[in-house]
Protein backbone atom coordinates (compact mmCIF):
# COMPACT_ATOMS: atom_id res chain seq x y z
CA UNK A 1 0.00 0.00 0.00
CA UNK A 2 1.52 3.36 -0.94
CA UNK A 3 1.28 6.62 0.95
CA UNK A 4 -1.74 7.86 -1.00
CA UNK A 5 -3.69 4.69 -0.31
CA UNK A 6 -2.57 4.64 3.31
CA UNK A 7 -3.84 8.19 3.84
CA UNK A 8 -7.09 7.41 2.03
CA UNK A 9 -7.50 4.27 4.16
CA UNK A 10 -7.00 6.42 7.28
CA UNK A 11 -9.75 8.81 6.17
CA UNK A 12 -12.12 5.93 5.46
CA UNK A 13 -11.39 4.29 8.82
CA UNK A 14 -12.31 7.52 10.63
CA UNK A 15 -15.57 7.77 8.66
CA UNK A 16 -16.31 4.07 9.25
CA UNK A 17 -15.66 4.32 13.00
CA UNK A 18 -18.00 7.27 13.27
CA UNK A 19 -20.77 5.46 11.34
CA UNK A 20 -20.25 2.32 13.49
CA UNK A 21 -20.60 4.43 16.62
CA UNK A 22 -23.85 6.02 15.41
CA UNK A 23 -25.25 2.61 14.48
CA UNK A 24 -24.37 1.07 17.86
CA UNK A 25 -25.69 4.11 19.74
CA UNK A 26 -29.14 3.48 18.23
CA UNK A 27 -29.31 -0.17 19.41
CA UNK A 28 -31.37 -1.29 22.38
CA UNK A 29 -28.94 -1.96 25.23
CA UNK A 30 -28.22 -1.12 28.85
CA UNK A 31 -26.01 1.93 28.37
CA UNK A 32 -28.05 3.21 25.41
CA UNK A 33 -31.01 3.65 27.79
CA UNK A 34 -29.08 5.60 30.41
CA UNK A 35 -29.18 9.41 30.55
CA UNK A 36 -25.97 10.59 28.77
CA UNK A 37 -25.07 12.89 31.69
CA UNK A 38 -25.07 9.94 34.08
CA UNK A 39 -23.02 7.90 31.63
CA UNK A 40 -20.43 10.68 31.31
CA UNK A 41 -20.10 11.08 35.08
CA UNK A 42 -20.20 7.33 35.84
CA UNK A 43 -17.73 6.25 33.17
CA UNK A 44 -15.37 9.16 33.90
CA UNK A 45 -15.43 8.15 37.57
CA UNK A 46 -14.56 4.54 36.70
CA UNK A 47 -11.71 5.71 34.41
CA UNK A 48 -10.34 7.82 37.29
CA UNK A 49 -10.73 4.84 39.66
CA UNK A 50 -8.76 2.68 37.20
CA UNK A 51 -6.06 5.38 37.10
CA UNK A 52 -5.76 5.66 40.88
CA UNK A 53 -5.81 1.93 41.75
CA UNK A 54 -2.62 0.51 43.28
CA UNK A 55 -3.73 -3.13 43.01
CA UNK A 56 -3.79 -5.21 39.87
CA UNK A 57 -6.92 -7.17 40.79
CA UNK A 58 -8.89 -3.93 41.22
CA UNK A 59 -7.88 -2.74 37.73
CA UNK A 60 -8.75 -6.19 36.35
CA UNK A 61 -12.15 -5.97 38.09
CA UNK A 62 -12.80 -2.60 36.43
CA UNK A 63 -11.92 -4.17 33.09
CA UNK A 64 -14.39 -7.00 33.82
CA UNK A 65 -17.08 -4.42 34.63
CA UNK A 66 -16.37 -2.69 31.31
CA UNK A 67 -16.71 -6.02 29.53
CA UNK A 68 -20.03 -6.76 31.26
CA UNK A 69 -21.30 -3.29 30.36
CA UNK A 70 -20.31 -3.90 26.74
CA UNK A 71 -22.16 -7.20 26.53
CA UNK A 72 -25.23 -5.71 28.25
CA UNK A 73 -25.12 -2.81 25.77
CA UNK A 74 -24.91 -5.16 22.76
CA UNK A 75 -21.40 -4.01 21.86
CA UNK A 76 -19.62 -7.05 20.48
CA UNK A 77 -16.39 -8.07 22.28
CA UNK A 78 -14.98 -8.78 18.81
CA UNK A 79 -15.53 -5.15 17.85
CA UNK A 80 -13.85 -4.05 21.09
CA UNK A 81 -10.99 -6.46 20.43
CA UNK A 82 -10.50 -5.05 16.92
CA UNK A 83 -10.90 -1.40 17.84
CA UNK A 84 -9.42 -1.26 21.32
CA UNK A 85 -7.83 -4.32 22.87
CA UNK A 86 -5.49 -5.41 20.08
CA UNK A 87 -4.26 -1.93 19.06
CA UNK A 88 -3.73 -1.03 22.74
CA UNK A 89 -2.02 -4.36 23.43
CA UNK A 90 0.26 -3.85 20.45
CA UNK A 91 1.13 -0.21 21.21
CA UNK A 92 1.38 -0.41 25.00
CA UNK A 93 2.75 -3.96 24.88
CA UNK A 94 5.73 -2.81 22.83
CA UNK A 95 6.35 -0.01 25.32
CA UNK A 96 5.95 -2.31 28.34
CA UNK A 97 7.98 -5.20 26.91
CA UNK A 98 11.41 -4.08 28.16
CA UNK A 99 10.07 -3.12 31.62
CA UNK A 100 10.60 -6.56 33.27
CA UNK A 101 14.27 -6.46 32.29
CA UNK A 102 14.91 -2.78 32.99
CA UNK A 103 13.11 -2.14 36.28
CA UNK A 104 15.32 -3.20 39.21
CA UNK A 105 13.93 -5.61 41.79
CA UNK A 106 13.66 -9.26 42.82
CA UNK A 107 14.71 -11.54 39.94
CA UNK A 108 12.02 -14.14 39.15
CA UNK A 109 13.35 -15.71 35.96
CA UNK A 110 16.05 -15.40 33.32
CA UNK A 111 15.66 -15.59 29.55
CA UNK A 112 17.57 -18.75 28.52
CA UNK A 113 20.57 -18.04 26.34
CA UNK A 114 20.37 -14.26 26.70
CA UNK A 115 21.00 -13.97 30.43
CA UNK A 116 18.31 -11.30 30.75
CA UNK A 117 16.83 -11.26 34.25
CA UNK A 118 13.12 -10.41 34.60
CA UNK A 119 12.16 -8.83 37.94
CA UNK A 120 8.90 -9.16 39.83
CA UNK A 121 8.64 -5.36 40.03
CA UNK A 122 9.22 -5.02 36.30
CA UNK A 123 6.59 -7.64 35.41
CA UNK A 124 4.11 -6.03 37.78
CA UNK A 125 4.82 -2.59 36.37
CA UNK A 126 4.20 -3.84 32.80
CA UNK A 127 0.95 -5.48 33.98
CA UNK A 128 -0.15 -2.23 35.69
CA UNK A 129 0.40 -0.27 32.50
CA UNK A 130 -1.33 -2.68 30.12
CA UNK A 131 -4.38 -3.42 32.32
CA UNK A 132 -4.83 0.23 33.21
CA UNK A 133 -4.67 1.41 29.59
CA UNK A 134 -6.96 -1.42 28.37
CA UNK A 135 -9.58 -0.73 31.07
CA UNK A 136 -9.63 3.04 30.55
CA UNK A 137 -9.71 2.74 26.75
CA UNK A 138 -12.55 0.18 26.85
CA UNK A 139 -14.65 2.39 29.12
CA UNK A 140 -14.03 5.50 26.98
CA UNK A 141 -14.96 3.67 23.77
CA UNK A 142 -18.11 2.27 25.40
CA UNK A 143 -19.24 5.80 26.18
CA UNK A 144 -18.88 6.82 22.53
CA UNK A 145 -20.39 3.61 21.15
CA UNK A 146 -23.49 3.88 23.33
CA UNK A 147 -24.26 7.60 22.91
CA UNK A 148 -25.09 9.60 19.77
CA UNK A 149 -22.35 12.23 19.41
CA UNK A 150 -24.65 15.25 19.66
CA UNK A 151 -26.16 13.99 22.93
CA UNK A 152 -22.71 13.12 24.27
CA UNK A 153 -21.53 16.67 23.62
CA UNK A 154 -24.52 18.18 25.36
CA UNK A 155 -23.93 15.84 28.29
CA UNK A 156 -20.43 17.33 28.70
CA UNK A 157 -22.19 20.41 30.09
CA UNK A 158 -22.68 18.41 33.30
CA UNK A 159 -18.87 18.57 33.74
CA UNK A 160 -19.17 22.39 33.58
CA UNK A 161 -17.68 22.60 30.08
CA UNK A 162 -18.71 26.11 28.87
CA UNK A 163 -21.59 26.12 26.38
CA UNK A 164 -19.51 28.01 23.79
CA UNK A 165 -16.84 25.27 23.92
CA UNK A 166 -19.48 22.55 23.53
CA UNK A 167 -20.88 24.42 20.52
CA UNK A 168 -17.43 24.81 18.93
CA UNK A 169 -16.56 21.12 19.49
CA UNK A 170 -19.94 20.10 18.04
CA UNK A 171 -19.46 22.22 14.93
CA UNK A 172 -15.86 21.07 14.57
CA UNK A 173 -16.95 17.43 14.74
CA UNK A 174 -19.50 18.03 11.98
CA UNK A 175 -17.01 19.86 9.72
CA UNK A 176 -14.34 17.20 10.22
CA UNK A 177 -16.37 14.91 7.96
CA UNK A 178 -16.88 17.61 5.36
CA UNK A 179 -13.14 18.31 5.26
CA UNK A 180 -12.28 14.61 5.38
CA UNK A 181 -14.52 14.07 2.40
CA UNK A 182 -12.92 17.01 0.57
CA UNK A 183 -9.45 15.65 1.31
CA UNK A 184 -10.51 12.16 0.23
CA UNK A 185 -11.84 13.50 -3.09
CA UNK A 186 -8.62 15.41 -3.72
CA UNK A 187 -6.40 12.39 -3.08
CA UNK A 188 -8.75 10.04 -4.93
CA UNK A 189 -8.74 12.23 -8.04
CA UNK A 190 -4.94 12.42 -7.93
CA UNK A 191 -4.68 8.66 -7.56
CA UNK A 192 -6.99 8.07 -10.52
CA UNK A 193 -4.53 10.03 -12.70
CA UNK A 194 -1.46 8.03 -11.69
CA UNK A 195 0.08 5.33 -13.85
CA UNK A 196 2.50 4.17 -11.15
CA UNK A 197 3.64 4.98 -7.63
CA UNK A 198 4.34 8.68 -6.99
CA UNK A 199 7.99 9.38 -6.01
CA UNK A 200 8.51 10.55 -2.41
CA UNK A 201 9.40 14.21 -3.16
CA UNK A 202 6.39 14.55 -5.51
CA UNK A 203 4.11 13.02 -2.93
CA UNK A 204 5.44 15.38 -0.25
CA UNK A 205 4.76 18.37 -2.54
CA UNK A 206 1.28 17.02 -3.26
CA UNK A 207 0.52 16.45 0.44
CA UNK A 208 1.67 19.99 1.31
CA UNK A 209 -0.43 21.42 -1.54
CA UNK A 210 -3.46 19.38 -0.39
CA UNK A 211 -3.12 20.69 3.17
CA UNK A 212 -2.70 24.20 1.75
CA UNK A 213 -5.83 23.89 -0.38
CA UNK A 214 -7.74 22.50 2.59
CA UNK A 215 -6.56 25.42 4.70
CA UNK A 216 -7.71 27.98 2.10
CA UNK A 217 -11.04 26.20 1.78
CA UNK A 218 -11.40 26.08 5.56
CA UNK A 219 -10.91 29.81 5.96
CA UNK A 220 -13.43 30.40 3.19
CA UNK A 221 -15.79 27.90 4.78
CA UNK A 222 -15.46 29.67 8.14
CA UNK A 223 -16.62 32.92 6.48
CA UNK A 224 -19.53 31.19 4.75
CA UNK A 225 -20.66 29.44 7.93
CA UNK A 226 -20.49 32.74 9.78
CA UNK A 227 -22.60 34.46 7.11
CA UNK A 228 -25.13 31.64 7.29
CA UNK A 229 -25.28 31.95 11.07
CA UNK A 230 -25.76 35.71 10.83
CA UNK A 231 -28.55 35.18 8.28
CA UNK A 232 -30.33 33.04 10.87
CA UNK A 233 -30.11 35.75 13.51
CA UNK A 234 -26.90 34.75 15.32
CA UNK A 235 -25.70 37.57 17.60
CA UNK A 236 -22.76 35.93 19.33
CA UNK A 237 -24.68 34.17 22.10
CA UNK A 238 -24.84 30.38 22.02
CA UNK A 239 -27.90 28.66 23.39
CA UNK A 240 -28.34 24.94 23.80
CA UNK A 241 -31.46 22.92 24.42
CA UNK A 242 -30.90 20.47 27.26
CA UNK A 243 -33.64 17.96 26.55
CA UNK A 244 -32.43 15.36 29.04
CA UNK A 245 -34.90 13.89 31.51
CA UNK A 246 -33.77 11.44 34.15
CA UNK A 247 -36.00 8.56 35.22
CA UNK A 248 -35.77 6.31 38.27
CA UNK A 249 -33.59 3.74 36.48
CA UNK A 250 -31.02 6.46 35.68
CA UNK A 251 -30.60 7.21 39.38
CA UNK A 252 -30.18 3.50 40.09
CA UNK A 253 -27.44 3.31 37.44
CA UNK A 254 -25.79 6.40 38.95
CA UNK A 255 -25.91 4.70 42.36
CA UNK A 256 -24.31 1.56 40.92
CA UNK A 257 -21.56 3.60 39.23
CA UNK A 258 -20.95 5.50 42.49
CA UNK A 259 -20.79 2.27 44.53
CA UNK A 260 -18.42 0.61 42.04
CA UNK A 261 -16.16 3.66 41.93
CA UNK A 262 -16.10 3.99 45.72
CA UNK A 263 -15.31 0.27 46.09
CA UNK A 264 -12.55 0.47 43.45
CA UNK A 265 -10.97 3.49 45.13
CA UNK A 266 -11.27 1.89 48.63
CA UNK A 267 -9.86 -1.51 47.69
CA UNK A 268 -7.37 -0.08 45.19
CA UNK A 269 -5.53 2.08 47.77
Amino acid sequence: MNFLERTLAGFLTALEQSLDAEDLARRQGLLQHVDPRIKVVGIAALVIAASTAHKLWVIAAIFAIALLLAVASRVSPFLLARRVWLPVLFFTGVIALPAPFVIPGRVVCTVPGLDWAATAQGLKSAAYLITRVESAATLSVLLVLSTPWNRLLKALRVLRVPVVVVAIVGMAYRYIFLLLDGAREMLQSRRSRLMGPLPGPDYRRMAAASVGVLMSRTLQLGGEVYSAMLARGFQGEVYMLDEFHTVASDWIVLGVFAALTAAAIYYGR
Binding site: A14, S51, P98, R132, A136, I168, A207, V211, S216
Partner: protein
Protein backbone atom coordinates in the same frame (compact mmCIF):
# COMPACT_ATOMS: atom_id res chain seq x y z
CA UNK B 1 2.68 11.44 21.18
CA UNK B 2 -1.01 11.17 22.15
CA UNK B 3 -0.67 9.91 25.74
CA UNK B 4 -3.42 7.37 26.56
CA UNK B 5 -5.12 7.02 29.95
CA UNK B 6 -3.05 5.03 32.43
CA UNK B 7 0.42 6.32 31.51
CA UNK B 8 0.34 9.27 33.91
CA UNK B 9 -0.76 9.42 37.53
CA UNK B 10 -3.99 11.29 38.34
CA UNK B 11 -2.02 14.01 40.17
CA UNK B 12 0.20 14.59 37.10
CA UNK B 13 -2.93 14.75 34.93
CA UNK B 14 -4.56 17.24 37.31
CA UNK B 15 -1.41 19.38 37.41
CA UNK B 16 -1.26 19.50 33.61
CA UNK B 17 -4.96 20.37 33.31
CA UNK B 18 -4.18 23.17 35.79
CA UNK B 19 -1.14 24.29 33.80
CA UNK B 20 -3.15 24.35 30.56
CA UNK B 21 -6.14 26.25 31.96
CA UNK B 22 -4.58 29.76 32.05
CA UNK B 23 -3.39 29.35 28.46
CA UNK B 24 -6.84 28.24 27.27
CA UNK B 25 -8.38 31.16 29.12
CA UNK B 26 -5.90 33.69 27.73
CA UNK B 27 -6.26 32.27 24.21
CA UNK B 28 -10.06 32.37 24.39
CA UNK B 29 -9.98 35.98 25.63
CA UNK B 30 -7.61 37.07 22.86
CA UNK B 31 -9.53 35.25 20.16
CA UNK B 32 -12.84 36.64 21.39
CA UNK B 33 -11.38 40.15 21.28
CA UNK B 34 -10.07 39.60 17.75
CA UNK B 35 -12.97 37.65 16.24
CA UNK B 36 -16.01 38.67 18.36
CA UNK B 37 -19.04 36.83 16.99
CA UNK B 38 -16.94 35.05 14.33
CA UNK B 39 -15.19 33.10 17.09
CA UNK B 40 -17.52 30.08 17.12
CA UNK B 41 -17.61 29.20 13.39
CA UNK B 42 -13.96 30.06 12.70
CA UNK B 43 -12.57 28.09 15.62
CA UNK B 44 -14.83 25.16 14.76
CA UNK B 45 -13.58 24.91 11.18
CA UNK B 46 -9.97 25.51 12.25
CA UNK B 47 -10.22 22.66 14.79
CA UNK B 48 -11.72 20.42 12.12
CA UNK B 49 -8.80 21.30 9.85
CA UNK B 50 -6.25 20.49 12.58
CA UNK B 51 -7.89 17.10 12.97
CA UNK B 52 -7.71 16.36 9.24
CA UNK B 53 -4.07 17.52 8.97
CA UNK B 54 -3.13 14.99 11.68
CA UNK B 55 -4.39 12.20 9.40
CA UNK B 56 -2.04 12.92 6.48
CA UNK B 57 0.52 10.20 5.95
CA UNK B 58 3.84 11.53 4.66
CA UNK B 59 6.68 9.64 2.97
CA UNK B 60 9.99 10.62 4.58
CA UNK B 61 13.50 10.55 3.17
CA UNK B 62 14.88 7.08 3.93
CA UNK B 63 11.82 5.15 2.86
CA UNK B 64 9.73 5.42 6.01
CA UNK B 65 6.46 7.29 6.66
CA UNK B 66 5.19 9.54 9.42
CA UNK B 67 2.20 11.52 10.62
CA UNK B 68 2.53 15.21 11.32
CA UNK B 69 0.66 16.75 14.24
CA UNK B 70 0.31 19.95 12.22
CA UNK B 71 0.90 22.18 15.20
CA UNK B 72 3.73 24.02 13.46
CA UNK B 73 1.68 24.97 10.43
CA UNK B 74 -1.35 25.82 12.61
CA UNK B 75 0.73 28.24 14.70
CA UNK B 76 2.26 29.84 11.61
CA UNK B 77 -0.98 30.22 9.66
CA UNK B 78 -3.40 31.03 12.47
CA UNK B 79 -1.13 32.61 15.09
CA UNK B 80 -0.26 30.94 18.41
CA UNK B 81 -3.46 31.67 20.33
CA UNK B 82 -5.84 30.41 17.66
CA UNK B 83 -3.54 27.43 17.20
CA UNK B 84 -3.66 26.61 20.94
CA UNK B 85 -7.47 26.50 20.82
CA UNK B 86 -7.84 24.77 17.46
CA UNK B 87 -5.32 22.02 18.24
CA UNK B 88 -6.76 21.55 21.77
CA UNK B 89 -10.26 21.07 20.35
CA UNK B 90 -8.94 18.65 17.71
CA UNK B 91 -7.16 16.69 20.47
CA UNK B 92 -10.37 16.64 22.56
CA UNK B 93 -12.34 15.25 19.61
CA UNK B 94 -9.65 12.65 18.97
CA UNK B 95 -9.71 11.58 22.62
CA UNK B 96 -13.49 11.53 23.11
CA UNK B 97 -14.72 10.26 19.76
CA UNK B 98 -11.81 8.35 18.26
CA UNK B 99 -10.04 6.99 21.36
CA UNK B 100 -6.73 8.56 20.28
CA UNK B 101 -5.25 9.85 23.55
CA UNK B 102 -6.86 9.56 26.96
CA UNK B 103 -9.53 11.55 28.72
CA UNK B 104 -7.62 11.92 31.99
CA UNK B 105 -4.48 12.76 29.98
CA UNK B 106 -6.19 15.28 27.69
CA UNK B 107 -4.74 18.18 29.73
CA UNK B 108 -1.25 16.72 29.31
CA UNK B 109 -1.70 16.17 25.57
CA UNK B 110 -3.02 19.71 25.10
CA UNK B 111 -0.19 21.12 27.20
CA UNK B 112 2.49 19.25 25.24
CA UNK B 113 1.18 19.61 21.71
CA UNK B 114 -1.30 22.50 21.59
CA UNK B 115 0.34 24.90 24.06
CA UNK B 116 4.08 24.16 24.10
CA UNK B 117 4.02 23.14 20.43
CA UNK B 118 2.18 26.27 19.25
CA UNK B 119 4.28 28.70 21.28
CA UNK B 120 7.61 27.09 20.34
CA UNK B 121 6.63 26.93 16.66
CA UNK B 122 5.58 30.56 16.59
CA UNK B 123 8.65 31.86 18.42
CA UNK B 124 11.08 29.82 16.28
CA UNK B 125 9.29 30.89 13.07
CA UNK B 126 9.39 34.56 14.03
CA UNK B 127 13.01 34.42 15.17
CA UNK B 128 14.26 32.77 11.98
CA UNK B 129 11.99 34.49 9.45
CA UNK B 130 12.66 37.91 10.99
CA UNK B 131 11.59 40.67 8.62
CA UNK B 132 12.03 38.60 5.48
CA UNK B 133 9.39 39.27 2.77
CA UNK B 134 6.36 36.98 2.80
CA UNK B 135 7.60 35.20 -0.33
CA UNK B 136 11.19 34.77 0.86
CA UNK B 137 12.65 31.26 0.94
CA UNK B 138 13.88 32.10 4.45
CA UNK B 139 10.26 31.78 5.56
CA UNK B 140 10.09 28.24 4.19
CA UNK B 141 13.21 27.33 6.16
CA UNK B 142 11.80 29.09 9.24
CA UNK B 143 8.50 27.19 8.96
CA UNK B 144 10.26 23.84 8.51
CA UNK B 145 12.49 24.41 11.54
CA UNK B 146 9.54 25.76 13.57
CA UNK B 147 7.57 22.56 12.95
CA UNK B 148 10.62 20.45 13.78
CA UNK B 149 11.33 22.38 17.00
CA UNK B 150 7.65 22.34 18.04
CA UNK B 151 7.20 18.59 17.75
CA UNK B 152 10.48 17.95 19.56
CA UNK B 153 9.61 20.36 22.38
CA UNK B 154 6.26 18.57 22.73
CA UNK B 155 7.98 15.18 22.76
CA UNK B 156 10.45 16.38 25.40
CA UNK B 157 7.57 17.51 27.63
CA UNK B 158 5.88 14.12 27.22
CA UNK B 159 9.17 12.32 27.93
CA UNK B 160 9.71 14.30 31.14
CA UNK B 161 6.12 13.55 32.20
CA UNK B 162 6.75 9.83 31.59
CA UNK B 163 10.16 9.93 33.24
CA UNK B 164 9.00 11.43 36.54
CA UNK B 165 6.29 8.78 37.04
CA UNK B 166 8.54 6.03 38.47
CA UNK B 167 10.24 8.54 40.78
CA UNK B 168 7.03 9.49 42.57
CA UNK B 169 4.51 6.69 41.94
CA UNK B 170 5.35 3.16 43.06
CA UNK B 171 3.37 0.49 44.86
CA UNK B 172 4.36 -1.14 48.15
CA UNK B 173 6.74 -3.57 46.39
CA UNK B 174 8.51 -0.77 44.53
CA UNK B 175 6.89 -1.53 41.14
CA UNK B 176 6.19 1.65 39.12
CA UNK B 177 2.43 2.24 38.92
CA UNK B 178 2.34 4.20 35.65
CA UNK B 179 4.86 4.82 32.83
CA UNK B 180 7.67 2.58 34.15
CA UNK B 181 10.86 4.05 32.73
CA UNK B 182 13.01 6.70 34.44
CA UNK B 183 14.09 9.93 32.75
CA UNK B 184 17.37 8.32 31.67
CA UNK B 185 15.38 5.93 29.44
CA UNK B 186 12.18 7.89 28.69
CA UNK B 187 13.92 11.01 27.33
CA UNK B 188 16.24 9.28 24.81
CA UNK B 189 13.52 6.78 23.81
CA UNK B 190 11.08 9.56 22.96
CA UNK B 191 13.59 11.98 21.49
CA UNK B 192 15.32 9.55 19.12
CA UNK B 193 12.05 8.89 17.30
CA UNK B 194 11.05 12.55 17.24
CA UNK B 195 14.44 14.02 16.35
CA UNK B 196 14.41 11.72 13.32
CA UNK B 197 11.14 10.48 11.77
CA UNK B 198 8.32 12.38 13.53
CA UNK B 199 10.32 15.62 13.46
CA UNK B 200 10.97 15.18 9.74
CA UNK B 201 7.24 14.73 9.04
CA UNK B 202 6.50 18.01 10.81
CA UNK B 203 9.44 19.71 9.05
CA UNK B 204 8.27 18.56 5.61
CA UNK B 205 4.64 19.57 6.16
CA UNK B 206 5.31 22.99 7.71
CA UNK B 207 7.90 23.99 5.11
CA UNK B 208 5.83 22.54 2.25
CA UNK B 209 2.61 24.34 3.17
CA UNK B 210 4.35 27.72 3.60
CA UNK B 211 6.04 27.22 0.20
CA UNK B 212 2.61 26.40 -1.28
CA UNK B 213 1.04 29.58 0.12
CA UNK B 214 3.97 31.67 -1.09
CA UNK B 215 3.14 30.49 -4.62
CA UNK B 216 -0.63 30.75 -4.38
CA UNK B 217 -1.78 33.18 -1.68
CA UNK B 218 1.05 34.89 0.29
CA UNK B 219 -1.51 37.11 2.02
CA UNK B 220 -2.44 34.19 4.28
CA UNK B 221 1.06 34.31 5.80
CA UNK B 222 0.40 37.76 7.29
CA UNK B 223 -0.93 36.28 10.53
CA UNK B 224 2.54 35.40 11.72
CA UNK B 225 4.47 38.30 10.20
CA UNK B 226 5.69 41.20 12.39
CA UNK B 227 2.90 43.71 13.09
CA UNK B 228 4.58 46.58 11.29
CA UNK B 229 4.79 44.51 8.10
CA UNK B 230 1.05 44.04 8.09
CA UNK B 231 -1.55 46.77 8.05
CA UNK B 232 -4.63 45.49 9.78
CA UNK B 233 -7.51 47.83 10.37
CA UNK B 234 -10.15 47.64 13.04
CA UNK B 235 -8.57 44.73 14.84
CA UNK B 236 -8.72 44.54 18.62
CA UNK B 237 -5.14 44.46 19.84
CA UNK B 238 -4.79 43.94 23.59
CA UNK B 239 -1.27 44.62 24.82
CA UNK B 240 0.86 44.52 27.96
CA UNK B 241 -0.78 43.61 31.25
CA UNK B 242 -4.26 43.37 29.69
CA UNK B 243 -3.18 40.69 27.23
CA UNK B 244 -1.36 38.55 29.77
CA UNK B 245 -3.66 39.20 32.73
CA UNK B 246 -4.70 35.55 33.25
CA UNK B 247 -1.07 34.45 33.32
CA UNK B 248 -0.17 37.18 35.83
CA UNK B 249 -3.12 36.13 38.01
CA UNK B 250 -2.04 32.47 37.81
CA UNK B 251 1.52 33.49 38.78
CA UNK B 252 0.22 35.50 41.75
CA UNK B 253 -1.92 32.55 42.86
CA UNK B 254 1.04 30.17 42.68
CA UNK B 255 3.15 32.63 44.70
CA UNK B 256 0.51 32.74 47.43
CA UNK B 257 0.38 28.93 47.47
CA UNK B 258 4.17 28.44 47.82
CA UNK B 259 4.03 27.99 51.66
CA UNK B 260 2.18 24.69 50.94
CA UNK B 261 5.66 23.27 50.30
CA UNK B 262 6.21 23.31 54.08
CA UNK B 263 3.54 20.61 54.43
CA UNK B 264 5.69 18.07 52.54
CA UNK B 265 7.13 15.58 55.02
CA UNK B 266 10.77 14.42 55.01
CA UNK B 267 13.67 15.67 52.94
CA UNK B 268 13.92 15.76 49.16
CA UNK B 269 16.03 12.77 48.09
CA UNK B 270 19.50 13.81 47.00
CA UNK B 271 19.13 17.45 48.08
CA UNK B 272 21.34 17.08 51.13
CA UNK B 273 23.97 19.52 52.30
CA UNK B 274 27.41 18.57 53.61
CA UNK B 275 26.26 19.41 57.16
CA UNK B 276 23.38 16.93 56.95
CA UNK B 277 25.79 13.98 57.01
CA UNK B 278 26.99 15.04 60.48
CA UNK B 279 23.47 15.22 61.96
CA UNK B 280 22.23 11.90 63.35
CA UNK B 281 18.59 12.97 62.89
CA UNK B 282 19.07 13.80 59.22
CA UNK B 283 21.13 10.62 58.67
CA UNK B 284 18.14 8.56 59.80
CA UNK B 285 15.93 10.44 57.31
CA UNK B 286 18.47 9.90 54.51
CA UNK B 287 18.53 6.17 55.26
CA UNK B 288 14.70 6.02 55.31
CA UNK B 289 14.49 7.79 51.96
CA UNK B 290 17.17 5.48 50.47
CA UNK B 291 15.43 2.16 51.19
CA UNK B 292 17.46 1.77 54.44
CA UNK B 293 20.84 2.08 52.69
CA UNK B 294 23.17 3.67 55.25
CA UNK B 295 24.63 7.05 54.15
CA UNK B 296 28.46 7.43 54.09
CA UNK B 297 30.08 8.27 57.44
CA UNK B 298 30.96 11.78 56.39
CA UNK B 299 29.98 14.15 53.58
CA UNK B 300 31.41 13.02 50.22
CA UNK B 301 34.66 14.92 49.50
CA UNK B 302 33.40 16.59 46.34
CA UNK B 303 30.22 17.77 48.05
CA UNK B 304 32.18 19.13 51.03
CA UNK B 305 34.62 20.97 48.73
CA UNK B 306 32.13 22.45 46.27
CA UNK B 307 29.45 23.38 48.80
CA UNK B 308 31.76 26.08 50.18
CA UNK B 309 31.97 27.81 46.78
CA UNK B 310 28.68 29.67 47.05
CA UNK B 311 26.50 30.50 50.02
CA UNK B 312 22.88 31.17 49.08
CA UNK B 313 21.38 34.42 50.44
CA UNK B 314 18.13 32.57 51.29
CA UNK B 315 19.21 29.07 52.39
CA UNK B 316 16.29 26.59 52.67
CA UNK B 317 14.00 29.32 51.24
CA UNK B 318 14.24 31.13 54.58
CA UNK B 319 15.97 34.51 54.65
CA UNK B 320 17.83 34.86 57.99
CA UNK B 321 15.82 37.94 59.04
CA UNK B 322 12.44 36.15 58.72
CA UNK B 323 11.23 33.98 61.58
CA UNK B 324 8.07 32.49 60.08
CA UNK B 325 8.85 29.79 57.46
CA UNK B 326 5.67 30.52 55.45
CA UNK B 327 6.66 34.17 55.04
CA UNK B 328 10.17 33.04 54.11
CA UNK B 329 8.78 30.81 51.34
CA UNK B 330 6.63 33.64 50.03
CA UNK B 331 9.51 36.15 50.06
CA UNK B 332 11.83 33.64 48.36
CA UNK B 333 9.22 32.97 45.66
CA UNK B 334 8.68 36.70 45.09
CA UNK B 335 12.43 37.30 44.94
CA UNK B 336 12.93 34.40 42.49
CA UNK B 337 10.10 35.49 40.20
CA UNK B 338 11.21 39.12 40.40
CA UNK B 339 14.77 38.15 39.39
CA UNK B 340 13.49 36.11 36.42
CA UNK B 341 11.20 38.94 35.29
CA UNK B 342 14.06 41.45 35.59
CA UNK B 343 16.38 39.29 33.49
CA UNK B 344 13.57 38.78 30.93
CA UNK B 345 12.88 42.53 30.74
CA UNK B 346 16.57 43.31 30.26
CA UNK B 347 16.89 40.58 27.59
CA UNK B 348 13.70 41.85 25.89
CA UNK B 349 14.95 45.42 25.96
CA UNK B 350 18.33 44.39 24.46
CA UNK B 351 16.57 42.35 21.76
CA UNK B 352 14.29 45.30 20.94
CA UNK B 353 17.25 47.62 20.57
CA UNK B 354 19.00 45.12 18.33
CA UNK B 355 15.93 44.71 16.10
CA UNK B 356 14.76 48.30 16.18
CA UNK B 357 11.10 47.51 16.87
CA UNK B 358 9.30 44.95 19.03
CA UNK B 359 7.34 42.10 17.54
CA UNK B 360 3.77 41.52 18.53
CA UNK B 361 2.25 38.09 19.08
CA UNK B 362 -0.88 37.87 16.98
Amino acid sequence: MHIPDGYLSPSTCAALYGASAPFWYAALRRMKAALATRLVPLLAVMAALSFVIMMFNLPLPGGTTGHAVGVGIAAIMLGPWASILAVSIALAIQAVFFGDGGITTLGANCFNMAIVGSLVAFVVYRLISGRAPLTSSRRVLAAALAGYAAINASALCAAVEFGIQPIYFKDATGAPLYAPYPLSIAVPAMMIGHLTFAGLAELVLSGGVVAYFQRTNPGLLKNSAPVDMVVEEGRADPRGFQALRPLWIALALLLVLTPLGILAAGTAWGEWSARDFASQKVRVKIAEASRDAAPPDGAPQGLARLSALWTAPFPQYAPPFVRRPALGYLLSAMFGCGAILLVSLIAGSLATRARGRPYELS
